[in-house]
């Protein structure tokens, strides 16, 4: 069973190798004339006056948290969907109750304005 996954492992390694070989080729073939201005971070010709890793909006965290909840939800739905034709009405009702709880949460966050960007 697991040997089916061996070509995938090989493919991932080859993917990483291609992503590595191409820049290495570029490093060897390309010119190399470093100069302090060229190597400074790009800021439309200005000198960068502070570190770029600044504070950012807390909404991005909020989106990330909501994403985890919904992604877990999808992870729950996947096995259910695969066997859906076998479990019939019982499985359908059970999942609908689960989805209803999720929708209540979704409606709450919508009303609270967690999905607003202005």
């Amino acid at each position: 069973m697991l040997e089916n996954y061996f070509p995938i492992l090989l493919f991932i390694i080859i993917g990483l190798a291609i992503g590595l070989i191409m820049p290495i080729l570029g490093f060897f073939l390309g010119t190399r004339q470093p100069d302090p201005e060229k190597n400074s971070p790009y800021e439309c010709g200005f000198e960068a006056f502070e570190d770029a890793r600044m504070k950012f909006d807390v909404r991005y965290y909020l989106i990330a948290i909501l994403f985890i909840i919904f992604d877990l939800e999808i992870a729950f739905l996947f096995p259910w969907a695969v066997v859906f034709k076998d479990i019939g009405l019982f499985g359908f009702v059970a999942m609908m109750i689960f989805l209803a709880i999720l929708v209540i949460g979704f409606a709450y966050e919508w009303k609270k304005g967690a999905l607003e960007w202005e």
Binding site: N4, G15, M22, F78, A81, F92, W117
Partner: protein
């Protein structure tokens, strides 16, 4: 000996997937420039003349992708002073590997033309396409440039938002097909083109494809690289081959999304003329129409790829709050409703799809 042989055969198979894929990537850039050129009443690239087969008439601009690749190869790779060198160099790798590796489970034609026929195919695809966001995050973080940083935050939030809608659309496909294996999903759609899942899952097809646009940061969702505000986004500090890897990964992902749309909603390699021999009788022509399975898949992929380019030439860029509104407030409710509708339809065994 046996394992060595197996290893070599697998490697040859991988090369047979990767090399045509990279050629497709190169010529997709050419197609993009030509198609968008003609849509904007220009000619597009027409300087590097080249003929695909020696001796034939040279096509204007046909050598452009090769010339571009050679040019990028000889460009200097700049690593900014303030950047995190290690992360800066491995970020393109982390974008490229999943974009290629996802192709391991794509069925290309009838009769097991797939590298790894695993039964968790779709789950693997979902996992691989989600990995791409790490490369973008790391690239923006390692650059230590304000533009790259802003773009990274936007891009990450946008990609994970649309991944939810995408995941729900996939759940719909799974309910209809009852399998995670992509070959089985295609086989479940057997019949005429009305049996394919585009009809019962029409809203999910639209949502999947539009989410695909957002996932690959394509116009009109290309806020991550909006030229007019944050110059080039997360790869503003990248040059030469490091940039080329990002570029190729983006196009490989476009082809991947198109292929998945074709496999899951347009019946993959299935012929739209299934059953035509009953009408026209059995002869070489009908046999060709039915048996040309890889050709049909290629036509369907090209259709979706053309849509990618057409949309880019047509629509203006979304504003960021509109992007988030579309993802969270429009797509997620629609997919949730359609999953319920689909559940009822499957329980009621509505023909011809769920009988």
């Amino acid at each position: 000996m046996e394992t060595l042989l197996y290893l070599i055969i697998t490697l040859i198979k991988i090369v047979l997937i990767v090399v045509p894929l990279l050629l497709c990537v190169a010529y997709l850039t050419y197609a993009e420039r030509k198609i968008i050129g003609y849509m904007q009443v220009r000619i597009g690239p027409n300087r590097v003349n080249f003929s695909a087969i020696p001796g034939l008439r040279k096509i204007p601009g046909f050598g452009q992708p090769i010339a571009d690749a050679l040019k990028l190869m000889f460009k200097e790779i700049i690593i900014p002073t303030n950047s995190d060198r290690f992360l800066f160099v491995i970020a393109p790798m982390l974008v490229m590997a999943p974009a290629l590796a996802a192709w391991a489970v794509i069925p290309f034609s009838e009769g097991g033309w797939v590298l790894a026929d695993i039964n968790a195919g779709l789950l693997y695809i979902l996992a691989m396409t989600s990995m791409g966001v790490y490369g973008i995050l790391i690239a923006g973080w390692a650059s230590n440039s304000k533009y790259a940083f802003l773009s990274t935050m936007r891009s990450a939030a946008q990609i994970i938002s649309y991944e939810i809608a995408m995941g729900f659309a996939l759940v719909g496909v799974l309910m209809a097909a009852g399998s995670l294996n992509l070959s089985d999903i295609v086989a479940a759609q057997k019949g005429s083109f009305l049996h394919w899942y585009w009809l019962p899952l029409l809203p999910l097809l639209f949502i999947y494809f539009i989410s695909g646009l957002a996932e690959t940061n394509r116009a009109p969702f290309d806020l991550a690289e909006g030229e007019s505000e944050i110059v080039a986004g997360f790869h503003v500090e990248y040059s030469g081959m490091l940039f080329a890897v990002f570029f190729m990964a983006e196009y490989a992902n476009m082809i991947l999304i198109s292929t998945l749309s074709a496999v899951m909603f347009l019946g993959g390699w299935l012929s739209p003329f299934e059953g035509i021999e009953l009408l026209l009788g059995e002869n070489w022509f009908t046999a060709l129409l039915i048996r040309a399975s890889f050709l049909w898949l290629a036509i369907k992929i090209s259709l979706f790829l053309f849509l990618f380019l057409w949309i880019r030439a047509t629509f203006p860029r979304y504003r960021y709050d509109q992007v988030m509104r579309l993802g969270w407030k429009v797509f997620i409710p629609i997919t949730l409703v359609w999953i319920v509708v689909l559940g009822v339809a499957i329980l009621a065994k509505i023909p011809p799809w769920f009988a």
